[in-house]
């Protein structure tokens, strides 16, 4: 039997309870044992009467990305939902308010522009809520009840999600919401009894450990706590702010502190100061804030001070598209700032990796005495996945510092040019090992020195050190059959999930194609990348940016020019677009 793979959307105007309804769908389906990936989009303005859309993909196998098509639309505001029509499947299930708060002329309504094959389920959301609970505010819950009845989802899962969502509220609020849900459920069961669907019947739901709903941002926050973060310095910016807010609540309970600084420059400055003094510290920002940080990031490179910087990318340049997703800070992360400033850049591709890579970044920063940039994007930060609760292993949170061991009378060389490039680092408070960390070029003992030979040797030492970090960085992962491939797709960040879905779908259609996941963006594993590209007839690199930033970084490692597939739409990369391109390339190659 075909498995379950349903994308459900809730669309409304700010204030309709759209995001709350989407969240409860995610929770309910997760408790039902399905794989869930949810992502909301909302306007940059707080009360701009903007459109809110939540999308949840629910399946009985691993879900790695959202795709273009929507199978169920729950419309809380028809005017806003009209914009969603292009993504609806021809026979999409549409639940809408038959007696909405604001009436729309019939020929301008949502229904008027839908495909004739659309399956319509009109329900008086507001009236049912008012009758059940005395207020129209439960419209969204009525709609959820209708959805559960029409699509064949277990209503008890939703009741549980509602209880969990409103557990902190008063009993009367909880009861009102439950009544609204039940009213919608009962109404739909009766009214549509002859055309109820079974969209969520699955023979084989994934087994395994209990799962939790986790967003990328929450995974990052939890990772920082588990890694022993002591100090967080930051400045509010979308989409990184939830990390600061989460840590502001949790970090003081563990003896740490969050300081909201006056700007991003002071945030990274304080992180460097704290790391220099031997404590784990981090900051999180997005493109515009990251740009402000670059000078001090290169100071961390030159003075060899650890720092963990999370850049949650959004659309750019400049203020750009604050609530849209993009992968256009790769060059800024890898090359941004003055001089030959090599630093470590890693990019997780899903929520679980957001956790593990953030944990690991602290140790990497200490061991290699360098800023480590964790590059995520809006889609990755704000999407939720139901995953087994990630837990850090002891060896991943262990102190990464390498302390000096100097015999008495011997001068301490803080920047000793070792074979690995790593020079043992003392921490203020350690007697007899004082040195000055400086952004000036310096000798092994840390004294300013601009001589030709010294600059050459110190540049080489720093480069060697960062290249050496490859040993501790995750290798690229191949998802491909052995032997030659007609198309190989290389993906990074949130786009990798889409690339892998596309590759798996193309393989089901009999194509010899594969995917390569790259999470270490600097330094990167040249040999492993070449090994993959050398067996690909064509290499396709999809990215959420206009110019192809990964292509310009690693394109030289392909046998012939890699093929870019760039989207600057601000939206997650749809797997079906990548699949179509793969098929096109494979076909051209076969001819």
């Amino acid at each position: 039997m075909p498995g379950v793979d349903v994308t459900v959307e809730v669309c409304g105007m700010a204030g309709d309870g759209t995001i709350a309804a989407g969240g409860m769908i995610n929770d309910a389906m997760s408790h039902g044992g399905f794989s869930v990936l949810g992502f909301d989009s909302y306007p940059a303005e707080i009360r701009g009467f903007g459109r809110c859309v939540t999308r949840s993909r629910v399946g009985d196998r691993e879900i790695r990305a959202l795709d273009e098509e929507t199978h169920v639309l729950i419309s809380l505001n028809d005017e806003e939902s009209k914009s969603r029509v292009p993504v609806l499947t021809r026979d999409c299930v549409v639940l809408f308010d038959s007696n909405p708060p604001v009436l729309v002329e019939e020929d301008r309504s949502l229904v008027a522009i839908l495909d004739p094959e659309t399956r319509l389920f009109p329900m008086p959301f507001g009236d049912l809520a008012a009758a059940a609970a005395g207020t129209q505010r439960g419209r969204n819950l009525v709609a959820l009840g209708g959805f559960a009845a029409v699509c064949g989802a277990d209503p008890e899962l939703f009741r549980e999600a509602i209880r969990s969502k409103f557990k902190a509220k008063s009993q009367s609020v909880l009861q009102a919401n439950l009544k609204s849900f039940d009213a919608g459920y009962a109404y739909a069961l009766e009214k549509f009894h002859d055309r109820l669907l079974t969209m969520f019947a699955s023979a084989d739901l994934p087994k395994g450990p209990e799962k939790v709903m986790l967003s990328g941002n929450m995974a990052i926050g939890k990772a920082a706590l588990d890694a022993g973060l002591k100090l967080y310095f930051g400045y509010p910016i979308t989409p990184a702010t939830p990390i600061m807010e989460y840590l502001a609540r949790e970090l003081p309970k563990r003896g740490g502190a969050v300081v909201q600084m006056e700007d991003e420059i002071s945030s990274i400055g304080a992180v460097l100061g704290a790391s220099y003094a031997g404590k784990r510290a981090m900051t999180a920002t997005s493109g515009p804030g990251f740009a402000l940080m670059t000078e001090l990031i290169t100071h961390g490179v030159m003075a060899e001070i650890p720092a963990v910087i999370l850049n949650a990318q959004r659309g750019g340049p400049s203020t750009g598209l604050p609530t849209k997703t993009e992968q256009s800070d790769l060059h800024a992360a890898v090359f941004g700032g003055p001089g030959d400033s090599y630093r470590i850049v890693i990019a997780p591709t899903n929520v679980t990796e957001c956790y593990y890579y953030t944990v690991k970044s602290f140790q990497l920063a200490e061991k290699y005495q360098t800023p480590v940039i964790v590059l995520t994007d809006f889609y990755l930060d704000n999407r939720v996945e139901n995953v087994p609760m990630p837990e850090a292993r002891e060896e991943d949170v262990r102190d990464g510092n390498i302390y000096p061991n100097v015999s008495a009378g011997e001068p301490y060389k803080r920047y000793l040019r070792t074979e690995s490039g790593i020079s043992p680092r003392s921490i203020p408070g350690q007697a007899g090992l004082q040195f000055t960390a400086t952004g000036l070029e310096h000798t092994e003992r840390g004294k300013p020195d601009y001589s030709a030979r010294n600059h050459m040797e110190m540049s080489a030492k720093r480069f060697r050190k960062i290249q050496g970090a490859l040993a501790d960085l995750p290798e690229p992962e191949e998802y491909a059959p052995d032997g030659p491939l007609s198309v190989g797709v290389i993906g990074w960040g949130s786009t990798f999930g889409s690339a892998l879905e596309a590759v798996l779908a193309a393989r089901e259609r009999g194509l010899r194609v594969g995917a390569l996941k790259i999470t270490s963006l600097y330094p990167y594993h040249e040999a492993a990348i070449r090994k993959f590209t050398s067996r690909c007839e064509e290499v396709l690199i999809p990215e959420l940016n206009y110019s192809g930033q990964l292509i310009s970084l690693i394109g030289r490692l392909c046998r012939k020019e890699a093929i870019p597939l760039n989207l600057a739409t601000g939206e997650p990369f749809p797997p079906s677009l990548i699949r179509k391109k793969i098929e096109e390339l494979a076909e051209a190659g076969a001819q």
Binding site: E262, D263, I265, S266, G273, S275, A277, F435
Partner: protein, 265 residues
């Protein structure tokens, strides 16, 4: 034969025997002969000695400019950061390890121009760091451009027709921003600097030491030693540093009285 190098080496050895290298390092300061920074250096070294602080528990943080080089000339831990960011970096150091004593040093360009946005926030946050603002009213390291505390109308290569911007008063700013310990000092009086630093270092909160000093190389007309010596004088004997209103009055009516101006009890 005594070469100039040997003469210098002998001098350095003689100084070493006189134990002046207990706090200062053996690196020869890069400041010009006659620079006021030597007086500040002397004052801070004596403060560290007087407080009996172990040098490995002291961190000197600086930005960029002639004063930025300070950490190389002391035996404490040093952190020579980028232009203008002395105070946020010092905040990170102190918060990470409150057992450390942190001295932040920088000039008027570093602290009032490029880094001027940090002063109000470090003051209101009241992190226990000690900030020495070396105010010579000029950019020395870039050869004589006007700074935010230069007098109105100052001519220089960068302002051949005279500056159009009114000077900032760092002491008044510090009081306004709510700094909990404010001293105004003179580089020509190392003893006075030491006394104020000892008191400020013991004060549990943000302390700012606004120090008038001279750039002997590029300033031939304003903050010259001759002028400073003539202008600077002690605070009135009856000045009560715990009275904020009196502190404001004092600073508003007199630009050159020196001593501990304000100290929150």
């Amino acid at each position: 034969m005594k070469t100039p190098g040997k003469v210098l080496a002998d001098k350095v050895r003689a100084i070493g025997e006189a134990k002046i290298f207990e706090v200062r390092s053996e690196s020869l300061p890069t400041w010009c002969p006659g620079c006021g920074y030597f007086g500040i250096h002397q004052g801070l070294n004596a403060c560290i000695k007087e407080l009996g602080m172990p040098l490995h528990k002291v961190v000197t943080v600086s930005g960029i400019g002639c004063a930025g080089r300070y950490p190389f000339f002391t035996r404490t831990y040093g952190l020579h950061t980028v232009h203008g960011r002395t105070l946020p970096v010092a905040t990170g150091v102190k918060m990470a390890n409150p057992d450390l004593t942190v001295f932040a040093v920088g000039g008027d360009g570093d602290g009032l121009a490029i880094g001027g946005g940090h002063l109000p926030h470090v003051a209101r946050r009241n992190v226990n760091i000690n900030y020495l603002l070396f105010d010579n009213s000029i950019y020395g390291l870039t050869k004589g451009q006007p700074s935010p505390s230069s007098p109105l109308g100052m001519t220089s290569k960068a302002s051949p027709y005279g500056t159009l911007d009114k000077p900032l008063n760092a002491t008044l700013m510090a009081l306004t921003y709510g700094a909990s310990f404010v001293a105004r000092l003179f580089a020509g009086d190392p003893k006075g600097i030491t006394n104020a630093l000892v008191e400020g270092a013991r004060h549990p909160g943000f302390s700012i030491f606004h120090i008038y000093t001279s750039c002997v190389t590029f300033d031939k007309s304003f903050k010259t030693w001759e002028h400073l010596k003539e202008w600077v004088h002690p605070l009135p004997k009856d000045h009560d540093p715990t009275d904020l209103r009196q502190a404001f009055d004092q600073v508003l009516q007199d630009d050159f009285s020196v001593g501990v101006i304000y100290k929150r009890g």
